[in-house]
């Protein structure tokens, strides 16, 4: 498989910080991969995701993006990605339809195509019946699904998800994970963080484990469990990062 993102010795140090949040990270993300980024609190997961999405820039090192064949510009790259932050990053005073129309227009999706896409997404995510209601009246699970819908309105080929199922009920979690599986089958590369180890173990095929800004492992999940003689992802996580609190 060809790489869509490559990190070469990437380090990040924030202006007011005394230590590196990320230190000398190198790995690549393959096209169509389901990559899980894990680590204890303060490991550098959010910093890594932010660098990958170009929200912040790396202090040293280099990140290269390609569409599978050639390197692409920042603007072209942003057209290819979707980002689903952990926060509900939308306008709760507005309806799902109004939010999706706004963000979709910013992606310059043609009007008719956008309307079709909104209808399709809201139907798949079980939000069609409330598409014109204010989001502030929704449950946590419904809000998560709106958050996801906005992140994939542009039909991205690379999708970044930061804890997409935190605080939702089993039904919503099922619906979200099922839809992500479906997207991946259609060719979307997914980079995902979560503290739900069971969910992550079921979903991811490759993992990156970070601790204190350093890359501990990056490999196929099944191979790692076998290599470290662990029972599951959670056991592997504790084995590699220890049991002490990090915050």
């Amino acid at each position: 498989m060809t790489s869509v993102i490559e990190l070469h010795s990437v380090s990040k140090k924030y202006a007011k910080s005394t230590r590196f949040s990320l230190e000398d990270i190198s790995f690549s993300i393959k096209k169509g991969e389901k990559l899980g980024v894990f680590g204890p609190n303060g490991a550098g997961k959010t910093t890594l995701m932010s660098i990958l999405c170009r929200i912040i820039s790396e202090t040293t090192g280099e990140v290269t993006y390609s569409d599978g064949n050639k390197n692409i510009s920042n603007k072209a790259f942003l057209h290819t990605i979707g980002y689903v932050p952990q926060d509900f990053s939308f306008y709760p005073e507005l309806s799902p339809y109004q939010n999706l129309r706004y963000f979709g227009t910013l992606y310059a999706i043609p009007k008719i195509e956008l309307n079709t896409r909104i209808e399709e997404l809201l139907s798949v995510l079980g939000l069609h019946h409330v598409m014109h209601k204010k989001i502030e009246t929704f449950s946590g699970g419904m809000k998560r699904r709106v958050n996801l819908a906005i992140g994939i309105i542009n039909n991205p080929s690379i999708l970044f998800l930061d804890e997409p199922t935190v605080g939702v009920d089993v039904q919503s979690k099922n619906a979200i994970m099922a839809y992500l599986e479906e997207l991946n089958k259609k060719g979307t590369t997914i980079i995902y963080t979560s503290h739900h180890m069971n969910e992550a173990e079921e979903f991811c095929d490759t993992i990156v484990l970070l601790d204190q800004g350093k890359l501990i492992v990056h490999d196929d999940l099944k191979s790692l469990i076998k290599q470290y003689n662990s029972t599951d992802l959670q056991a592997l996580f504790l084995q590699l990062t220890g049991i002490e609190y990090r915050d």
Binding site: I55, G82, P85, S89, Y91, P92, Y102, T105, Y107
Partner: protein
């Protein structure tokens, strides 16, 4: 352009969902402009309408007390209420209890004393000219009238009233003295020809307002309050726009926007366009109230300036100043509470020192200097120049310059903060 329209549309949707913000931006200033204009109207009338209500308690047994009262009434400066039965003690009670602010007490021997004084002066004058023999000096009791006033009256206003009464009293004394002179010289009365010359040939004082336009706008409660509270309303958008920015930032919408191939400046521009419309709508509503509703409830009508382009320029700059200030607060505030609390308190303070509540020209000189730091003061200065001074571009230039500098300073600070936060 489609992206910009979508952003503006989103801002409008957020705005119409912000019921508290809308109430603060429209209902509050409308109520304030009504209440404060009605309250201040009586004060402005007291100063500007040449018709000061005064109680006259005339105990004089001669006719000069009436003459003085008639002189005051015929001057047009006073509205006389005769309350001759009031005692001196009761005058004070009346002033403290009623709406009247002034009372004039004329004693019962007023005519007698004034006549004796005139006679004495005329006799002395004639003896000085050696027309008659020197007469023996008769001791004179000083003539006294008493002006009672409500303690709320300011010194300068009270002194000007006292000065007016003194000048009428002077005219009365002069007439009496000349009459006495003629009488001493054997005339029954002053010849008509001389009377005209003595009493009618006064030096006229023409009053010209320093106004570059031909029209004469009178400073009244409407001319002050309508622009003043319109400016206050515009700046109070800090509650809506400031918290709108904080909410977007805290929710992570700004971060999401960074992952979308669209300029962040577009987001800021859409906010500016939306709130510029809001500010101009506030102005239109409050100005329309001043123009069409105020006269219906007995308040002075707002007279618009002749320099309509100047009005447009000052309004646009005032609106952009308010928008820039609100965005600045929203950008630097860490929480919604900070934005709302700091924004509201700052605007109230800047309004107070900027002359929104009370015009700066009645403030002490050091407060007038401090007032210059308030952008609301400069906005109001612009409207004063337009409404009261004819709106000459030369006079508007300092206001325009200050407001442009204020807007630029705010925008630079906003840009710097957003740059540090990596949004731009």
């Amino acid at each position: 352009m489609r992206k910009l329209f979508a952003s503006i549309h989103k801002e409008f949707l957020l705005l119409i969902n912000d019921k508290v913000g809308l109430l603060l931006m429209f209902m509050m200033p409308i109520l304030l402009v009504f209440i404060i204009t009605i309250v201040q109207d009586s004060t402005f009338k007291l100063v500007n309408d040449n018709n000061i209500e005064i109680i006259v308690v005339n105990k004089d047994k001669g006719g000069l007390g009436d003459s003085l009262s008639n002189l005051l009434a015929s001057s047009g400066a006073f509205k006389i209420t005769d309350r001759n039965k009031l005692s001196q003690k009761n005058i004070e009670k009346t002033l403290l209890g009623d709406d009247n602010l002034l009372a004039l007490w004329i004693p019962e021997n007023f005519s007698k004393q004034l006549t004796e004084k005139a006679k004495s002066v005329s006799t002395e004058m004639l003896s000085e000219f050696e027309i008659i023999d020197k007469a023996s000096e008769v001791p004179q009791n000083p003539t006294k009238i008493i002006l009672y006033y409500d303690p709320i009256l300011q010194d300068n206003f009270r002194n000007s009233i006292s000065g007016s009464i003194r000048s009428f009293l002077g005219a009365l004394e002069n007439r009496l003295m000349i009459e006495q002179l003629y009488e001493e010289m054997g005339f029954d009365e002053i010849p008509e020809k001389m009377e005209d010359k003595f009493f009618s040939n006064q030096v006229q004082i023409d009053q010209i307002s320093a106004n570059s336009s031909t029209g004469q706008a009178i400073p009244n409660s409407t001319q002050h309050n309508v622009p003043a509270w319109s400016i206050f309303a515009m700046f109070f958008m800090v509650i809506s726009l400031g918290s709108n920015i904080v909410k977007e930032r805290l929710s992570g919408s700004f971060v999401r926007l960074q992952t979308i191939p669209s300029s962040f400046s577009l987001v800021l521009l859409s906010k500016m366009c939306t709130y510029l419309f809001v500010a101009l709508l506030q102005l239109t509503v409050i100005f329309a109230l001043g123009k069409f509703v105020f006269p219906l409830i007995g308040l002075p009508t707002l007279s618009l300036p002749s320099n309509i382009l100047g009005l447009f320029v000052i309004s646009i700059l005032s609106a952009f100043s308010a928008i820039s200030f609100a965005m600045l607060v929203g950008t630097y505030a860490k929480t919604n509470e900070q934005a709302n609390g700091f924004g509201a308190i700052t605007i109230i303070i800047l309004a107070a020192i900027g002359g929104i509540w009370v015009p700066t020209f009645v403030m002490p000189s050091y407060m007038q200097v401090i007032g210059n730091i308030s952008p609301l003061h400069w906005c109001l200065e612009g409207y004063y120049t337009l409404f009261l001074k004819g709106g000459d571009w030369y006079l508007l230039a300092p206001t325009i310059l200050f407001l442009i500098l204020f807007i630029l300073a705010c925008q630079i600070l906003i840009y710097s903060k957003l740059k540090i936060q990596n949004y731009i």
